[in-house]
Symmetry: C2
Subunit: 437 residues, 2 copies
């Protein structure tokens, strides 16, 4: 199976656990059998592999998500990077060209596209395989997944099938309706359009060429920022006559708010949390090193990260966005391809962060113009390079880098550093990267 996972989103609705660099699909919320937690992305990836061990998975995403994806899925994962945000049609066109021109997937192969962030169970992945098989049959140019609605949502478009069969033609599409209209359509048998579909690769390439003049993936990539923003539904799906819908019954949830997300959690808390017996329907997700004690609460979600603390009635939490816009966040923690960091203290002329480098990984070789830096090695072993001079480092070592000096550090075992940045103008932009000779 060739599958394109669309990984987008900004995730403001899940503040403080999501931020500019961590969309909701990267939050580790789901308990695996070995007691660890995995993210929606990791869960989706793992289930696809389980359903089809030979699946060719490509993640279509923005540049700012690359580090987090590599951190969570390893360096080997295939990523098709959108140079900027241009809605789903350009994204699918680019990823399809990538499959064809870079990966060598033939034009008659079927491709499945699905978003990375719905919360689903195993039957969903079986449905993806059926979707691909249906697309291969060549009965239609496009095969959509139609999700049987559980409530008259105003968030989704609807697909009205011609019949109640497992696979059916499409009688019409309905753009996001109000709840009353949605109710009527559901009575007529309408299904949710969850943005999951399959097609023969060449079909989508042709559709791309109809709208965009380009020759091959690299050309399309080069002119990506000049493309119009247009959704897949609007550009292709709703215009296509040769379209089928395959109905899907099983659980399919958008975990876009704290209310829906906590419903999908395996237990009442993640992280350091204590609840007294009088707490009812309370969920705590705590990514801080501090304990959270909850007493006498009902229907409340408490969520804490280095970016802030949310304490909210679950229903009320869906109105969070304007408050998060007001907060205008600095990135206080992030997963990088080489490990992770979190801000411990931010002051006028200093910034103290804790850096964790994964074994075998190193940060870029870089320098700063306007700040000095110190590394205090808290644990682990590795090798540092400062202005071309390499040295072994281990727990207890202290390294100082004057402004202008080029530096990097490579972890042999997991390496934890306390980094103190000192200077009058500390900002993320003050960074020049170099090749390590």
């Amino acid at each position: 199976m060739n599958i394109i996972l669309l990984s987008g989103g900004s995730g403001k609705r899940l503040w403080p656990l999501s931020n500019d660099v961590r969309s909701k699909q990267f939050i580790k919320l789901f308990k695996t059998e070995d007691g660890q937690y995995e993210s929606m992305l990791q869960r989706m990836y793992r289930y696809i592999r389980k359903a089809d061990p030979y699946a060719n998975i490509t993640i279509a995403t923005a540049k700012r998500q690359i580090s987090a994806i590599h951190n969570q899925l390893g360096e080997g994962v295939d990523i098709c990077v959108e140079p900027c945000r241009r809605d789903t049609f350009p994204a699918v066109a680019l990823a399809t060209a990538y499959l064809h021109d870079v990966q060598g997937v033939p034009g008659d192969a079927a491709v499945v596209v699905c978003p990375v962030d719905p919360f689903v169970k195993e039957d969903y992945f079986e449905a993806l395989i059926k979707l691909e098989q249906q697309a291969k049959k060549g009965e239609a140019n496009l095969v959509l997944m139609g999700i049987e609605p559980t409530y008259p949502s105003e968030k989704y478009g609807y697909i009205l099938p011609k019949s109640k069969n497992a696979v059916s033609g499409v009688s019409s599409f309905i753009e996001k309706p109000d709840a009353k209209t949605a109710k009527q359509y559901i009575r007529q048998g309408a299904l949710w359009n969850g943005g999951v579909f399959a097609y023969p690769l060449q079909y989508m390439l042709d559709k791309a060429h109809e709208r965009i003049r380009f020759c091959g993936y690299y050309d399309l990539l080069g002119q990506y920022s000049a493309l119009d923003s247009i959704s897949m539904d609007y550009a292709v799906v709703e215009k296509e006559k040769q379209v089928q819908v395959m109905r899907f019954h099983g659980p399919w949830k958008d975990l876009g708010t704290w209310n829906t997300l906590t419903e999908a959690m395996d237990g009442p808390d993640i992280g350091n949390a204590i609840m007294d017996k009088t707490c009812q329907n309370v969920h705590v997700i705590n990514e801080l090193d501090l304990p959270i004690l909850c007493m006498g609460l009902n229907d409340v979600v408490v969520s804490a990260s280095p970016n802030g603390i949310l304490v909210s009635d679950k229903t009320q939490s869906s109105y969070i966005k304007p408050f998060v816009d007001r907060l205008g966040q600095q990135t206080m923690f992030a997963e990088k391809s080489w490990g992770s960091f979190r801000v411990l203290d931010a002051d006028a002329e200093s910034l103290t962060i804790k850096v964790t480098l994964n074994p075998g990984h190193r940060m870029n070789y870089h320098s700063h113009k306007y700040r000095d830096e110190i590394w205090a090695v808290a644990s682990g072993t590795g090798r540092a390079v400062i202005d071309g001079r390499e040295q072994a480092v281990r727990a207890g070592d202290v390294l100082t880098m004057q402004a202008g000096s080029r530096h990097t550090i490579l972890a042999e075992s997991e390496l934890k550093l306390i980094e103190v940045q000192l200077g009058k103008e500390i900002c993320v932009q003050d960074k020049e990267k170099f090749d390590l000779e």
Copy 2:
């Protein structure tokens, strides 16, 4: 007025803002006219000074509170230190001997004793002055303040006066009753015993000598740990025949729980907090650098410090103690005589703290056997001494101290340091102090 302020308590009920070194009287909760916040201790001290600019105020307290008291009231404040905890009678006896033998207060002077932590208004301080004047009259050996009860509390002892006069003899004392009994006594005119009383100095010295064989303050101090724990009420008050009670009507509140404490706050929040319009009767006290966002909550207190985060229904919060006992806290922040510190990160072989030194202050000259330390100067100017060598330091400087090296730092302007401790055995006990030559 000679006044002994009893400053005790461990303050577990106000976790996470109080801890082993910060009892509730040190939490800054009350807004002053200039928009700053002050603690119960600071407020009490300021009001006494306002009521009597010449008041001779002595704080009777335990060793572990000295730093915080100096931090909040300055170095000039008079403290009578109890070497260990021995209930109120030994504490009052020691402080009375201190007044007589160290301060030279004569035996016929009146002394007022009161706890530092009730929440009171200006009329309370006028009442203290009246209490002292009444004690001076010599009509009784002891004059107690009898607080008019506002509800049948089970927390206080009760005093049954002989009459309804402003000053009256005492007909009997009642130890903490249950609510039903309390109700009956209140109907008979009983008053709360809030542990506020006045006496002629010599009277209390005589009472001390009756129970303890000692000659003078220093002798009493030396044998303090061998003294029996016994309360003032039990040892003296309830046995005294020549005793009067002076009734006090005005507000008098024990802010011992989050529920009562938030009632006394001047606004709904202290620190970085945002509440949506659907929050009702919500209080936030946030000592972290992170924003706290509250949505759709009713009757909830949220309190956050480097020790942890409490989210509790206000009524339920009074049952906090067993949970705090379970948490078994490390001290994550503290006010010291020279400034303050907070823990930014604690790992197996490193501890990162942020130190703030007040202008003109310095920490002890000291060394550690089992850890190296780094100071990165985040802001301010000062002078450091490392192994006898003095040097000027300012923002941006980095100093490293190997295990064994003696070091201190003096702040000229307010000085902020990031201190990284590195070693396999990091503990507070690993500290040797030296005189600075």
